[in-house]
Amino acid sequence: MKHQRLVIMIEISLMAALSIILSYVQFGALWAMGGSISLIMIPIFVIAFRRGWKAGALTGFIVGLLQLFTGATIVHPVQLVLEYPVAYTVLGTAGLFVTSRSFAKGVPYVSIVIGVLAAALLRFIDHFASGVIWFGAYAGDMPVVLYSAVYNASYLIPEVLITIVIIVLLAKYSPAFFRAPKTL
């Protein structure tokens, strides 16, 4: 039991490290406007499906802090909290949709896709709110709500689509990744 806990903790560390590395891997350059498309979310989803939502949320939290500590762009205190730790922590909720029992009858593709979509929606809401708050603080009466929604959707939608394709392929080829005991 204790050994299992330590293994999970180290898996969380290594997945967080992989997230940071994969954030530098650009998937094509089709949407090259500001917010870039990266594979940063994949390790967080893998651990959330493998070890449950708490492990996923913790991995996301660590990814956000690591980004802050390795040099993030900080333009507002609220943005600091929302765009870094919170934005990735909420991705852990994907783990709520898939349990070890979900794998009893084959790979639960539908639950996996719904989990990724729900978690990504939370991340969108978070970035959206952060955009409205800090951009609102700087830009006065501009249509900040519309701007924040369009800007954040412009990179999150393609990123989420690519993440879903890759996660589904991973589940198809290596379902064993997601079948570990979910305890933390």
Binding site: A17, I21, V25, L39, L66, I74, P77, G140
Partner: protein
Amino acid sequence: MFEHVIIGQYLPGRSILHRMDARAKLASVFFLIAAIFLTNSWTGYAVLGGAAAVIYLSSGVPFRYIRKGMAPIFLLVLFTFFIHALFTREGDVLLSLGAFQFYEDGVIQGLFIALRLLLLVFLTSLLTLTTSPIELTDAMEQFLSPLNRFRFPAHDVAMMMSIAIRFIPTLMQETEKIIKAQTARGADFSKGSLKDRAQAFVALLVPLFVRSFKRAEDLAYAMEARGYNSGAERTKLRQLIWKTRDTAACVLIVVLVAALFLLRE
């Protein structure tokens, strides 16, 4: 793929700012951010600008690194400045260019906001340029330790962050090796349809995850064999040492913030 990638922007050095305690730096940046948002007068910004210049001079960081950190927000600064300068129609007209009119109040407001953004990014980049992620993690662990009472595992989180920081270079090498191996087998990461590229990335991710999970298991055994026990009281390999100059710096910052508070209009 990773030839030109440097993760993190920490610049090792021996300057005063480098040798300050990470906790003192983290607390100072926190107070300075608050100060930036409190300031609303020219005198206030002049004082803050002077303080930022002094902090910069004590860091020994070449200016090009700062410029690199500020590049992503440069457009944003210009954009917010012009929005304020063009859309705030109060005060006297300073300049009239065809359909565009720059009013005095708008220009002043735009300048304040541009300064605010620049100072924020300047000070936070100086922190990450002169403090290694591992020092920041140790400092954060101590700031979060009061949360232990609410069952937030501050020590465990800090340990996981240290392991992640330690393994970023190792896993990056591994990623590079697998990319080369899969490229040799015909995988193409940058061309082809969406589906082909996704397949190529799966061929990279599967071995990467397999090896990471294996490594996690091995590392857990190695730590247990050396008596690691997360619940026990632990001593530290890297000690943060608080010196008189850290207290002095913090006092100076508090005095500065208090002065800025009094300079508010």
